[in-house]
Amino acid sequence: MNKKLDIKIIAIIIAVSATLGVFHNALRVERVPLIYTPKPEVWESDSALFINDSTKNNRIPHSNSVTDTTPPSKNSTVKQEAVQTGPKTITLKQAYRLFKNRSAIFIDARDKWEFSDGHIKGALNIAQYSFDKNNTVLKKIGKNKTMVVYCSESDCDMSEKLAGQLFEIGYTRVYIFKEGYEGWVSSGFDVETGAIE
């Protein structure tokens, strides 16, 4: 009695499957490159990020309300914002400046348990894992608001994914804060615990 597996058969099945996969991919309209090459990070400049800071004499009042979508006043000299082609990445320094200026809404892309354990002060939780465009938190946020999306640290890609999803549904001023919660905490910036009801 032969109890051994036929390795030749296994090798043939694997080879045929791989060949079918490569051929199918080659025939696809949206084919995937056989060798993955990572996309380079696109960083946002200070001038594009802090457009309002250039108008110190005609500063637009900052609002703590996330529903504030009041357009700039007629006397404002705020420049037209450049159109973003996709979410860009911002540094810790830029994120903190937005935080201090209260000119962005911080979105925590982690799940609710991690969010509850600790998050950037004032951040809202939209778990990337269960993202839905009809999310109740999103309904309170105007599409012209600046949003900074983060997750745990630079290895975590939930912030990138969620930012992409938000951008696709019309939130064009969304930025990725790659250093995330760990980077924020290690810099000693403001955090808080608990879930927001």
């Binding site: 036929d6 058969i9 296994i10 694997i14 996969g21 991919n25 995937v32 993955y36 990572p38 890609d157």
Partner: protein, 146 residues
């Protein structure tokens, strides 16, 4: 218990369910290999230059092995392939949990998001039992026939 396990209908059930799960999983990932590539990347274990090739070929292995198994061809070999994949997937999930990664397991493509966690490990364990049932009883029946 032994008599139950050797029951032909139960064996066919085990083989069919086991095969169908992988056929379904394979098809879902073949539909969107780009998303599956991202899922593989999320585990942060493999060199990045390999993830696309795996995303393109692995689902076809699941599909081909699943179909062959469903039609009763090379049961032992196909079950071995699929059980091996199952063990590897479970191992990857355990590693990601230890590392504290909060990721989608990528098991059924992007249409069915499932967190890489205990639920998935338990699911895989029962699936592995089905696979072992197929390979052990099939082998036993060959011995008896001889």
């Amino acid at each position: 218990m032994k008599k139950l396990l050797k029951n032909q209908k139960l064996l066919l059930f085990s083989r069919s369910v086991f095969a169908f799960v992988f056929i379904f999983a394979g098809i879902e990932k073949i539909i969107n290999p780009a998303d599956f590539s991202i899922s593989i990347q999320n585990y942060r274990l493999l060199p990045l230059y390999t993830v696309n090739f795996i995303a393109i070929t692995l689902p076809w292995l699941e599909l081909v092995s699943g179909i062959l198994l469903l039609f009763g061809n090379y049961n032992k070999e196909n079950t071995a392939i699929l059980c091996s994949l199952l063990v590897i997937f479970t191992f990857l999930i355990i590693i990601s949990m230890i590392r504290g990664l909060n990721i989608d397991c990528g098991c059924f493509g992007s249409t069915m998001s499932q967190k890489a966690g205990w639920g998935k490990i338990i699911e895989n364990f029962f699936l592995l039992l089905l696979g072992l049932h197929v390979v052990v009883i099939t082998e036993h029946q060959k011995d008896v026939a001889k």
